[in-house]
C-alpha cells in the first residue's frame, strides 16, 4: 500500500510537471529542456533549507520555489528572445549546471553521499504519506484548472499568438518578451514547488535524481498525450509512467530473472510509442483543444436584430 501511494504521488508530480510544460511549450511555444533543473532547485533548495538551516518544510518549499522563479526569470532575460534551438540548449545547460553544483557543493548538499532525512509534514500521523498524496493531488488539480483558465483567457490567446508569430504579435502592441518572461518564470517556479514537494517523497536526496531522464520522461509524456491539449499531460503520464512504472513493474507477473530487463523494455516501448505518435498522430493522443468561451455565440444575432430595427 505504501508503495502504491509513493508511486501515485510520484505520478502526480510527473503530471504536474507535464502540465506546466504544456503551458510553456504547448501554449507559449517555449521549448524548456531544463525541467529537471527547476524541479531540482525546488528539491534541493527545500532539502538544504530543511536539513541544514532547520527551516520548517512548508516555508522551505515556498522559498525554494521563489528561488526557482528568480533563476528562471534571469535565464529568461538572457535567452528567451533567441530562437528555439538556443532556448533548448540553454535550458538543458541550466539543468546540467544545477546537477553539477549539487555534486560539487558538498558542504551544502552532501554531494554524492546524499542529503536527508526530509520528513513528511504531519509526521506524527500514521497516514502522513496519504495526506501528502492528497496535498499533491490538490496542487496538480489546481494546475490543471489554472491552465484551463489560461487557455480560455485573453492572456492565453496572446500566448498562442506569440507562439504562432511573435513579430506580428509585437507589431500589434503586445509586449511579447515580457509576457513570455513572466509566464516562463512563474511556471518554472511551480516546477520548483513540485520539486520541493518531491523532497519528502524521496526523503533522502542524491544527485542521481537530477539526471535529464526526468526532463525526457515529462517531454515524452506531453508529446504522447497532446502538447496542445489541456488534458494531454494526464493522458501522457498515464500511458507512460502509469502503465509501465506502476502497472507493469508492480503488478505484472514477471519472473524474477526477466524483471531486470523491464526498464530496457520500457524505454523500447516509449521509443516505439513516440515514433508511432509522431507518424500517425503528430498532435498527440488528444490532439489540440480550443478555448471554451461563452461570449461569441450570443453577439451576432443581437447585432443583426439591431441593424434591422434601425433600418425599419
Amino acid at each position: 500500500m505504501d508503495y502504491l501511494i509513493f508511486s501515485v504521488s510520484l505520478m502526480l508530480v510527473y503530471i504536474g510537471l507535464a502540465q506546466l510544460l504544456h503551458i510553456q511549450f504547448g501554449l507559449a511555444g517555449i521549448p524548456n529542456f531544463g525541467v529537471v533543473g527547476f524541479w531540482g532547485i525546488g528539491l534541493y533548495g527545500t532539502g538544504v533549507l530543511y536539513v541544514k538551516a532547520g527551516v520548517p518544510l512548508l516555508p522551505a518549499m515556498a522559498m525554494a520555489s521563489l528561488l526557482a522563479t528568480a533563476l528562471a526569470y534571469v535565464l529568461a532575460r538572457l535567452v528567451l528572445q533567441r530562437n528555439g534551438q538556443a532556448i533548448l540548449a540553454a535550458t538543458l545547460a541550466f539543468a546540467t549546471i544545477v546537477s553539477t553544483l549539487v555534486v560539487s557543493e558538498k558542504d551544502l548538499t552532501g554531494g554524492v553521499q546524499g542529503l536527508g532525512t526530509i520528513r513528511f509534514p504531519f509526521s506524527d500521523l500514521e497516514q502522513r504519506n496519504l495526506i501528502f498524496m492528497i496535498m499533491l493531488l490538490i496542487v496538480v488539480c489546481a494546475l490543471i484548472w489554472i491552465s484551463a483558465k489560461l487557455r480560455d483567457s485573453r492572456l492565453g490567446r496572446q500566448l498562442v499568438a506569440i507562439r504562432d508569430n511573435e513579430e506580428l504579435a509585437a507589431s500589434l502592441g503586445k509586449n511579447t518578451a515580457a509576457t513570455k518572461r513572466w509566464v516562463f518564470a512563474i511556471t518554472c517556479g511551480l516546477m520548483g514547488l513540485l520539486g520541493g514537494m518531491s523532497a519528502p517523497l524521496h526523503q533522502f536526496l542524491v544527485p542521481y535524481q537530477l539526471s535529464p531522464s526526468l526532463t525526457f520522461a515529462v517531454w515524452i509524456a506531453l508529446v504522447l498525450g497532446g502538447k496542445g491539449h489541456n488534458l494531454g499531460a494526464i493522458v501522457g503520464v498515464f500511458v507512460t509512467f502509469g502503465l509501465f512504472d506502476i502497472l507493469i513493474e508492480t503488478y505484472a507477473p514477471v519472473p524474477a530473472e526477466q524483471a531486470i530487463l523491464l526498464p530496457n523494455f520500457k524505454l523500447f516501448c516509449y521509443g516505439v510509442l513516440l515514433v508511432m505518435i509522431i507518424m500517425f498522430r503528430p498532435l498527440g493522443i488528444l490532439g489540440v483543444d480550443k478555448p471554451k468561451v461563452r461570449s461569441s455565440t450570443t453577439t451576432p444575432p443581437r447585432e443583426l436584430s439591431n441593424a434591422s430595427v434601425e433600418k425599419g
Binding site: 490567446r157 504562432d164 506580428l168 502592441g173 503586445k174 461569441s296 447585432e303
Partner: protein
C-alpha cells in the same frame, strides 16, 4: 499627427538601402509612397515601426501635443502609441480563428495580464461588436473559422490593423494578393475612417491608379532617397518620377 524622420539611414554591410535626409508623413489624410522595386520602401516602413534598427538618424512621432522619439522604442511600444503597419508578406496566427485574431488585435495590452485568467467573460461586448461588424462586412468563406486562402489572410492582416484603431496606419502593398473588389472595399473603408478624422494613412503601392485615386499627397522613393514629393498631379507630371519609375 506627424511622423518625421531625419537623416535616416540603413545599411546592410556596405550596401546602403535607405538614406533619407528628411521626410514627413501624416500631414495629409491619405498619402502614398511609390518607387521601383528595391527602392527601400519596405525597409523604410520597417524602420518607422522599429522592426528594423536604423544605422543612424532619428524618427519622431508627433501626436496632438506630444512628441514621441521612436528610436528607443521596441516595436510593441510603437504600436501602443498608435503607429501600426500592415504586412506585405502574407502571414498570420495559424491557430487563431478569424474572429479570435481580430479580438486579439482589438484587445488593449493592459487587459491581457494575469488577471484576465479570472474574468468571467473573455471579450467585452464592445470588442465583440467591433469584430462582428468587420467580419460581416467582408466575404470570408467561413466567418467562424480560419482564414484559408492567401487573400483571406492578407485581408485579415489589414483588418487586424484597422480594428486596433491606430492613429497612423502604414499599409505595405495592400493590393498584393487581394482581389480587385476587396481592395476597393478595404480602401473605401480606410478613406471613410480617414475622412472621419479617426486616423491617417500612408499606402505603399505599385498599383498607381489606386494611388492616384485615393491619395492626396505622394512621396517618391528611389535608390533609398526621397526624390520627389507632391500632389498626385505633380508627381504624375514629374520628369524624375517618369524616368526612374514609369520607364518613359
Amino acid at each position: 499627427m506627424r511622423l518625421e524622420a531625419n537623416n535616416l539611414t540603413k545599411a546592410y554591410h556596405t550596401q546602403e538601402v535607405v538614406n533619407i535626409e528628411k521626410v514627413t508623413f501624416g500631414s495629409a489624410g491619405l498619402e502614398g509612397l511609390i518607387g521601383p522595386n528595391g527602392a527601400g520602401k519596405s525597409t523604410l516602413m520597417g524602420l518607422l515601426t522599429r522592426r528594423i534598427t536604423p544605422s543612424s538618424g532619428t524618427m519622431k512621432l508627433h501626436i496632438e501635443d506630444k512628441t514621441h522619439p521612436l528610436n528607443p522604442f521596441h516595436s510593441h511600444q510603437v504600436a501602443r502609441i498608435g503607429l501600426i503597419k500592415t504586412n506585405q508578406r502574407i502571414q498570420g496566427f495559424d491557430s487563431l480563428t478569424i474572429r479570435d485574431s481580430l479580438r486579439l488585435a482589438a484587445t488593449p495590452a493592459r487587459a491581457e495580464g494575469f488577471k484576465s485568467l479570472f474574468s468571467g467573460q473573455r471579450d467585452s461586448e464592445e470588442v465583440e461588436e467591433k469584430v462582428a461588424r468587420l467580419v460581416e462586412a467582408f466575404p470570408f468563406a467561413d466567418r467562424n473559422g480560419y482564414a484559408m486562402s492567401g487573400g483571406e489572410k492578407k485581408l485579415l492582416d489589414i483588418l487586424r490593423c484597422l480594428i486596433a484603431e491606430p492613429k497612423l496606419l502604414l499599409m505595405d502593398e495592400p493590393t498584393a494578393g487581394l482581389p480587385e473588389d476587396i481592395t476597393r472595399s478595404v480602401m473605401d473603408m480606410v478613406r471613410e475612417k480617414v475622412q472621419a478624422g479617426a486616423m491617417r494613412v500612408v499606402v505603399v503601392e505599385h498599383d498607381l491608379p489606386l494611388i492616384w485615386e485615393y491619395c492626396e499627397y505622394v512621396h517618391f522613393l528611389s535608390e533609398g532617397s526621397i526624390l520627389f514629393e507632391g500632389a498626385p498631379e505633380e508627381v504624375k507630371a514629374n520628369r524624375v518620377v517618369a524616368e526612374k519609375y514609369m520607364g518613359v
